[in-house]
């Protein structure tokens, strides 16, 4: 397991300390270990990607952080204190699907949300109304304030979910597949809003299957598999590099790696005569480039490549390192 701790000296906003969750079995099913001693910290202002294959324990981890399920053992700390009902005032949550009662109106949901969270920036009825109007305008739902949720399109419902998760200006924002089911334009808008929250200093936990979102938005990542944390680190430290070389195939590259004692590549793609090699660190890529040039091969490209880190993240899903 690789782990790179952020260099911040700040105390974590959220701390999972040896959190274990076992769902008790019954007559029809056996007990199920959803999380097996997860320890991790989220630091203020950082965006962390929560990754893992289906059934890895991501949803359970989110539910533990939100206090919807209690850990079988271990602790969840928010700002250094055990998570309580009061501390949830500083947390925003956007679920993976629209989980709002269909017969409520769009405006009502946001007004209720402000009341529930007792937001200081919306203490009076007038302030709440203004805040609701501003939020609806920001997500493009101003004209639908009195529309029932059941009559919203999927895209509108996702925008409303974003609005209800952020209207009270949370310190920690938990996003579960925020862009799922959105068209490309709506997706771009959603990613822009997440970026804006990052700039505002909100700590974000982004649970997604889309690795492109993680590499584009996140500072850190953590990968769960079968309830265990298999990898965590910073995206910046893991930026990938790619080099293109022609005139060699995989067998030739393997022979060269053995003779020159070169580090293994992370990814290899072949397109006709052109071979693309991906590396997770600069040193590995540079050693290969020098070795290839010494042997007289033509290196046509040597550059950053986010796809490499995506390949690396994906490899954690199936057990590779």
């Amino acid at each position: 397991m690789s782990k790179v701790r952020p260099t911040s000296i700040k105390t974590p906003i959220l701390q999972l300390d040896q959190v274990r969750k076992v769902f008790r079995g019954d007559l029809f099913k056996s007990a199920q270990v959803a999380l097996a001693g997860l320890s991790h910290e989220l630091y203020p202002g950082r965006c962390s990607g929560l990754l893992g294959p289906n059934g890895a324990g991501k949803t359970t981890a989110i539910r533990l952080i939100l206090g919807l399920v209690a850990p079988s053992s271990g602790r969840v700390l928010f700002n250094g204190r055990p998570l309580s009902t009061a501390s949830k005032q500083f947390i925003g949550y956007m679920p993976d699907t629209s989980k709002l009662p269909g017969s409520l109106q769009v405006g009502e949901v946001l007004r209720h949300q402000l009341l529930l969270f007792a937001s200081p920036h919306a203490a009076s009825a007038r302030q709440r109304q203004l805040c609701v109007e501003a939020t609806l305008a920001a997500v493009g739902l101003s004209e639908h304030a009195s529309k029932r949720i059941s009559r919203l399109s999927k895209g509108m419902a996702r925008r409303l979910a974003w609005a209800q998760a952020t209207i009270h200006r949370p310190q920690l924002l938990i996003l579960d597949e925020p862009a799922s089911g959105l068209d490309p334009l709506a997706r771009r808008a959603m990613l822009g809003w997440i970026q804006a929250e990052k700039v505002r200093g909100t700590t974000i936990l982004l649970c997604t299957h889309e690795l492109t979102q993680v590499t584009a938005l996140c500072d850190d990542y953590l990968v769960l598999r079968r309830g265990e944390l298999v990898a965590s680190g910073t995206i910046a430290a893991s930026t990938g590099f790619a080099l293109h070389v022609s005139g060699l195939d995989e067998a030739g590259l393997s022979r060269l790696a053995a003779s020159e004692e070169l580090p293994p590549w992370r990814a290899l793609r072949q397109d006709g005569f052109l071979v693309e090699l991906g590396f997770v660190d600069y040193d590995g890529a540079a050693m290969w480039a020098l070795a290839l040039l010494r042997k007289g091969y033509v290196v046509t490209r040597f550059a950053d490549d986010q796809r490499v880190i995506e390949e690396q993240l994906l490899s954690y899903f199936v057990g590779g390192e």
Partner: protein
Amino acid sequence: MLRALGVVTMQTFILLRRDRIFWPALGASLLISAVAALFSSWGTEDLVKMRYDFGLFGFQLSGSAVAMLWGVKMISDARQDGSMEVQLAAPVSRGVWLVGKYLGLGACILLISSLFMTVWQAMLLALGYNLMQGPQLLAFAMMVLGWMVTGALAVFFASLARAPLAIFATVSAWIAGLVSPLIGQATTHDTPLPIRLVVATITRYWDLQQFNLVDKALDPAMPSLRFILDRGLYGIILIALLISLASIICSRRDALPA
């Protein structure tokens, strides 16, 4: 805490008011009132008693059914559509959430019962009778309290089990509460002692006929204050007990299954 309670109560009230059951329930009340009035004009016996018997029986049935359906439905809907997840992710404890849900249900039952009452009074006036007086109003209020108890029962079972099982358990317990005094009276000295004890215990603590004051409704004199308080407190204690138990269970269990 009060703010959270208020929001959950208000939201539940709005949801139930917009629920599909609301208008059919109101329609049923109109129908019952109309049929009760029609029967009373055909009858040859004590017309007033007949009207009250039929009307109250109809109200009792429709009101209890609505309380049971709403009680179970609002909890299971919240679980199913995920709104429970979103609300409990906010600073709302599970106990407060459940109490808020019940209060919302209670407010909606009060609304629908006041609409029932308005329709019935209007019907009486239209047929040339006097408006309902003290004993009749008391009988109606007790019946509404009975609906509240039934609603609390439904919430209790809905917090324990999924909708179909919760409905089944609620209906069974409701019927048991209605027939327990009759079964209690049917036991004799020949009945085995353990059975007599069980029946006596159920009859003593779970007797929904306490809220049925149809006989008193025809008596021009108001029942004693002690009589009213006994029944009122019995209903309130049952509600408090059921909702407290449901809140404790809800607080100790995971809000969402695996």
